[in-house]
Assembly symmetry: C2
Homo-oligomer: 338 residues x 2
């Protein structure tokens, strides 16, 4: 008898978000309808500002997580549609406020709302979307889901303030940084995933599995985003390379390169990030240092580490197309960078 | 037999907030403790920014409304403490965001958070307080209270955007303006009052009575605020006279004076509000026009009209010290201006 040698075809295939997109297609149509309806208002400026960002081509990964995480536990009501829409509104509100906080002019290759309608509209429409998000959650009526999502709202804001407090401080450690992205990014991924089993009546173990999956997927996602900010190209990203550098934002590639560098390298980083010497020549030099000290490759290695934890979190759950799609999204998020 | 002639002593006595303050004293101590605890965070900047505003001497009228509105229906749990704190946090978050939107440098005579810590911290700490407010509401566990307060959060933001959309448009009518203050101010007064009977298990009629009371008290309160902005003195208010004028904010005194004025007067208002010609000489002229056309006295008359509706809303409820205190607060709010 011959021995079957696994060909591991999958290892060579680029991971894709397509299975998740296909599985959630009809639900996402309902989410998109609800987004348009709940971003509506007689106050014309609200749908204008909201739709500018909503229609700007984000992947809507977070609401897809909620839909898949509910469906994999057999949920058949419509609460997951409302929760998924709430999650996307929380995300959109955060982006509107982030652009004000970061004074950003471009997001996903388009002018930010604040450059078109002003900081004022961005702050207030963000507040409106957050209010609408809570109304939809209340409408679903699950106190557990409300607890998870309202806690995420606090934690996200806390993470953003923490990031602001350590801004331009080169002594930020990898642990400090992890604490920030755990709050500002991973908390919403975790909540988006955990409310799936909550609305579907899953067990405490199911909730924990999805929460852990979401947390670690979110960490991997943010780390890869940080690499893309230094390694992607402007046309790929709709974002100029070096935005984080120019804003003096400290991300893991910078932390690694700073800590691994010579005293002269560290003096350069302090001048660039703390002193604001972030012109094109210094960005070029920064990119050189980041590459020399493995700042990008090792940040990707960290992302893979969290990706593995996310995969293991789902491991005990029964096999299903939903589970496979969620697992494949981990590699998809990480492969964005390669 | 002699006829007893009512002396109506009360009519001559200045209305006071004191009965409400006295009745809610021990509950407000618990609210103040909870405010400090829930505005706390390991991220040091959060309590710094939050406490700057929280300790700046606001009257905390809104949480007192919640406490009184729960106690008058015999409530004896601690849900009203959490809801009152949520209401105050929603209010504080709105103030933090308002200062960014209005680019204000002073509030209650103190530098605004945004001038000390920047717009960024004001936006994000506001978001954090809003998240904490929702967590406390969720903790109380009443879906009805959550519904009322989350709806208020949306409506408030919608009102602020509406105000932004009509900013500097002199054709704003009194009705437009009422729609704005009904949303941006009265909605929170209404919600703060309505959650009292909700948490206390009051009837639908009780809820409606308190909602109507809060709405109309809020309208009266805002109208008097608008009068104070033109008529108060800097030392009384901790706010410079004419802030609204300089910001091109259209309030009822201006609307009345514009609509009642001559074509020349209207040209002046357009130049001042729409064209930004709001220097000291023009403020002086504006004050003269507002007085000539009864802009302040008639705005106070409108406030009294809503005050009467608020009083009648409570009329069917049984007499109690709580009810008397809430009724007296109506006149207290209006008397601020005299």
């Amino acid at each position: 008898m011959g021995v079957v040698i696994p060909l591991e075809d999958n290892k060579n295939k680029q991971a894709s978000v397509k299975p998740l997109v296909d599985l959630t297609l009809s639900d996402m149509e309902r989410v998109n309808q609800l987004i348009l309806s709940k971003a509506g208002s007689d106050v014309q400026m609200i749908p204008e500002v909201a739709n500018h960002l909503i229609s700007s081509g984000g992947k809507r990964l977070r609401p897809m997580l909620t839909l898949a995480a509910a469906s994999m536990f057999g949920y058949e009501g419509d609460g997951h549609i409302k929760l998924a829409t709430s999650v996307e509104f929380m995300h959109t509100a955060t982006l509107l406020h982030d652009d004000v906080v970061d004074e950003s002019d471009l997001r996903r290759g388009k002018s930010t709302a604040r450059t078109i309608w002003g900081n004022q509209a961005s702050v207030l429409v963000g507040d409106f979307l957050l209010g609408q998000a809570f109304r939809m959650m209340v409408d679903v009526g699950s106190i557990d889901a409300l607890d998870v999502l309202s806690t995420a709202a606090s934690v996200i804001a806390e993470g953003e303030v923490l990031q602001l407090s350590v801004a331009k401080n080169m002594e930020t450690t990898e642990d400090d940084y992890l604490q920030i992205i755990r709050a500002k990014t991973a908390a919403l991924f975790a909540a988006a995933s955990e409310v799936g089993p909550i609305v579907a009546g899953g067990s405490k173990a199911d909730r924990n599995a999805l929460k852990s999956y979401g947390t670690n997927l979110g960490l991997a996602f943010q780390l890869v985003d940080d690499v893309l900010d230094y390694g992607g190209t402007s046309s790929d990203l709709g974002k100029n390379v070096g935005d984080d550098f120019r804003e003096g934002k400290i991300t893991l590639p910078v932390i690694l390169s700073y800590r691994r560098g010579t005293p002269q390298d560290r003096a350069f980083w302090r001048e660039a990030i703390e002193g604001g010497a972030s012109d094109a020549a210094n960005l070029e030099k920064a990119l050189g240092l980041i590459r020399r000290y493995g700042g990008l490759t090792d940040t990707i290695a960290r992302a893979k580490h969290y990706g593995t934890i996310a995969r293991d979190a789902l491991a005990p759950l029964p096999a299903s197309p939903w589970k496979s799609a969620l697992v494949e999204v981990i590699d998809f998020c990480i492969d964005r960078v390669s």
